[in-house]
């Protein structure tokens, strides 16, 4: 694998990744490894580009007019921005969970089943199995198994967010991107969500964007600190939080203005 040997165990690697909104350079050449079976937190002040970076990993930024990219984001040995990459394949393998729970105004069952249906799964028995497996995977099955036909909008926000994670894992991804997944949740639902993330960590590469320093400190293995479209520092979370190499990181995590 040559140069990739240094990033062994990395599920996703950004290589000199740049992103422009029109003429504005929003991401200024990022080099980051996201290791498998671990949680990487991306932290940084508002506008630093952390959500933009996260959304680049399953190409959700493609939807925005005027966005151009350069450099590479490598997943499974392929630059995901290569023209030959099938977006449906990419997004089924790299799932995404949004800031506010995106529970569709459909039944709980259909909120999960819509994802495998898009992949072409039609058989009822197969869909039933995927729905059950996905809901079990997020610890929601026992709560909702008798209410699968009911509207998902009746669930609490915390459970709606779990439902969205269930939808994300229903397509058998191995990377899950979470964009401030707890920002709409109360403290208890937040802790429940973090517990779930620790569980998912055994099977997936998780990347979470968060504003919440405590959350990054207690719920991640690695931390990436971004500032003004650049990566300032990356490393094991404990090291970044207790012994940061860059003074800007130290100022940010101690709550001072950068």
């Amino acid at each position: 694998m040559g140069t990739e040997s240094m990033s062994a165990g990395a599920k996703v690697t950004a290589k000199d990744f740049r992103l422009y909104y029109g003429d504005f350079l929003a991401l200024k050449g990022l080099n980051v490894d996201f290791p498998d079976k671990s949680i990487t937190a991306i932290i940084g002040p508002s506008g630093c580009g952390k959500s933009t970076f996260l959304r680049s990993i399953n190409r959700m930024n493609d939807l925005i007019e005027g966005v151009r990219v350069a450099g590479e984001i490598v997943y499974q040995g392929t630059n995901i921005y290569d023209p030959s990459v099938d977006l449906m394949w990419l997004r089924s393998r790299v799932g995404m969970v949004f800031q506010r729970p995106v529970a569709f105004p459909l039944s709980i069952y259909d909120n999960v089943a819509c994802a495998p249906r898009v992949q072409g799964v039609r058989k009822r028995s197969e869909l039933d199995e995927i729905v059950e497996r996905s809901l079990r995977g997020v610890g929601l099955w026992d709560d909702v198994k008798d209410d699968l036909k009911k509207s998902a909008l009746g669930l609490s926000l915390g459970n709606q967010q779990k439902l969205c994670i269930a939808r994300a894992i229903s397509t058998n991804p191995d990377v899950i991107l979470l964009d401030e997944p707890a920002s709409a949740l109360d403290p208890i639902a937040t802790l429940v969500l973090e517990d779930l993330m620790w569980k998912l960590r055994e099977d997936y590469c998780l990347v979470i964007v968060t504003h919440n320093m405590q959350q990054a400190a207690r719920a991640s293995d690695y931390t990436v600190f971004m500032l003004g479209g650049e990566v300032v520092e990356t490393g094991p979370t404990r090291q970044v939080f207790t012994n940061p190499r860059d003074p800007r990181t130290e100022r940010y995590i101690t709550g001072k203005l950068v």
């Binding site: 399953n58 959700m60 939807l63 977006l87 449906m88 394949w89 990419l90 997004r91 089924s92 799932g95 995404m96 949004f98 506010r100 995106v102 569709f104 105004p105 459909l106 819509c114 994802a115 249906r117 898009v118 992949q119 969205c164 939808r167 994300a168 229903s170 397509t171």
Partner: protein
Amino acid sequence: MNRKEKFAEVVLTVVGLTSVAVLALIIFFIFREGAPFFAEVGLGSFIGGTKWSPGKGQFGVLPMIAGSFFVTLGALVIGVPLGLGCALYLSEFAPKRTAAILKPLIEILAGIPSVVFGFIGLTVIVPLIRDRLGGPGFSVLASALVLGIMILPTMVSISYDALRAVPQVYREGMLAVGANRWQAVTSVVLPAARSGILAAGILSMGRAVGETMAVIMVAGNATIIPGSVLDPVRTLTSNIALEMGYAAGLHRQALFATGVVLFVIIGALNIVARSFVRNRVR
């Protein structure tokens, strides 16, 4: 200041009540004029009767009920898919600028007088049907085609609003699991906009049932229950408009009774439409 405000309140209340009073008066007069007819002829032989010849004292309105039904159904079969498809294109697929130009153009359709639609139907559609498909040309099909186009503005703009009201995050949420835009539309956007689209269909139906002028010009207006889409047909509204000019006595009352039937149908449609719109707001 306070007295001024009181004055404004009183004036506005009176103005508001006036429009309600007009509605009440319309209902009152239609029913007052129509009621004696029901007493004399009977509801059953009016609604169930298949012969309409006022000269012989035969007042069966069933052919017109059937006529309104078939013409409206035909208009919906043509206008609803076309209108919904158009709304889907404008809302989900068209570039923003295209939508900004096309939508007002479609709404202009609503401002064209119905007699113009009827005229185009008369000079283009009727001869086309006569030459290509046979029959007199004045037909259920001609009426349905004209009405199908006339309901487009209603269908398009209300469905469009319903589709636009679907939160953008629903679309993104589907795209994020690998759906293409069409899949996002069918699996989430359409179900989420369902009640608004249904309301659009029902309001379009109301428009089709009520339209008179354009239909008179292309329907042929024979008082028979049509056996095929190429047969001429007469609707409830046409029946009133065509004969009111010379009707007297029982005949005149029969036309008001036709109005009662029409009123009940449209009232029911409105109640159904409102309940859908209310569900959507919740």
